[in-house]
Symmetry: none
Amino acid sequence: MRQSSSRVLYDPAASGPAYRQLARSIGEAIARGDLAAGTALPTERGLAEDLGLSRVTVRAAYRALAEDGLIEARAGSGNYVRGATPAFEQPLWHLSSFSEDMARRGRNATSRLLDLAHGEATDEELAALTLKGGDRVVRLSRLRLVDGEPLGIEVASLPEALTQAVQLGEGSLYAALSAQDLSPARGIQRMRAVSLDEDVAGLLAVPPGSAAMLLERVSFLSDDTPIEYTKSHYRGDAYGFVAKLDGGDLT
Amino acid sequence: MRQSSSRVLYDPAASGPAYRQLARSIGEAIARGDLAAGTALPTERGLAEDLGLSRVTVRAAYRALAEDGLIEARAGSGNYVRGATPAFEQPLWHLSSFSEDMARRGRNATSRLLDLAHGEATDEELAALTLKGGDRVVRLSRLRLVDGEPLGIEVASLPEALTQAVQLGEGSLYAALSAQDLSPARGIQRMRAVSLDEDVAGLLAVPPGSAAMLLERVSFLSDDTPIEYTKSHYRGDAYGFVAKLDGGDLT
DNA sequence: CAGTGGTCTAGACCACGCT
DNA sequence: GCGTGGTCTAGACCACTGT
């Protein structure tokens, strides 16, 4: 039996594109449990007519939900709520780093300030922090060590305009941000394996070309303003991640 | 200066949806280096007219490429080739199988069976699967390819005692397990960067010593019996991960 | 078979970047 | 102000699912 579309709230007076509002509304209904796993969503044509939207717009909303793994499209059949999902209220995965583990195990984790400089944002930083050409950033380069051994290098870039009052330096970056009410609320992190160039390899005391984990992280304030872009290289032999995978999504 | 669209090959006689063919053609051009990082792609309207397609179709192709991280859209400016990003990124918050993941991206994911053998468990397997010395395992080695290009190697080890009835071979491992009521319910996955030795590098068609992502995963049945230990090597330039971080993880 | 999602067309208006 | 991507409309045909 197909879910009655009347259960799907949609307030056209809210701000933003229609497909995003619709996707958010359905996503919230799934998170609340109003739409149980396996439930068939309204058909694209039906919902479009009910809401006075075009089918393309409804499709855009369904597609956004499918990209987040909340629903699943089955050709010739319908769109269905996926099982065991919502990543927001109760993340099904937990990501922990070796450095966190080390801290927990009482290892002596330190960091050394390599550089602190202001400059015009690179293209990479412009894209990550959604700045405009010519905007300036503060760049904070730090070497991460555990028990005196260098494990990784982090370069954090912050929009200069937002960080005038922040005391950057030896201390914790997040503590300094927090003191100015600039605590990150969310983030997205990319990870991949790369070979180290000569410069970074030298700082990490490993041969050039050694495998390393490249991490790129963008952190956002609660209003979705990007506040920090950090690019880190960690020695492959000294740093890794553990992800717990819960739920029946192992297909 | 904008790239002339004549450089973008597109063969309407080929099979599959037009947007996918177009995306693949552009993706290959980027992989070959014909389209350097930072290059502006043809405008959506321009390319649509040149190819006799609608703008929506070109947008679908560009969107697919953006989802794979190959290009980046800048509103009011254009679509640009991204620099040095892995061709594929697997979200950690929505774990899916390799082939499922690629299918969602419209790629032709295949796998080639390299080896299927029974043998005594190694120390590594004993620890991961909590077996006793002398216990035997089934080892399934597969090469993972996307659009014919080798991206990774997976070696799955399963306790022989639990998998007597399972038909292992060319098909999906999880489907075969599921048929015998041995579906994994949970898993734990470790990730780190390594350099490839000669043998694996050869199979992946990259130079020895290239950076790769090493994945080790143990899957458990709902009663916490370990059912599968998989050790995978994925090319660092072709596969990465994305993680969403919520408040508490940002320290 | 009827209904569904998958794809595609040929337009349109908007907010934003660039010059 | 012009061109760009971002969004949206109102149709259309196809392959597939389910009965």
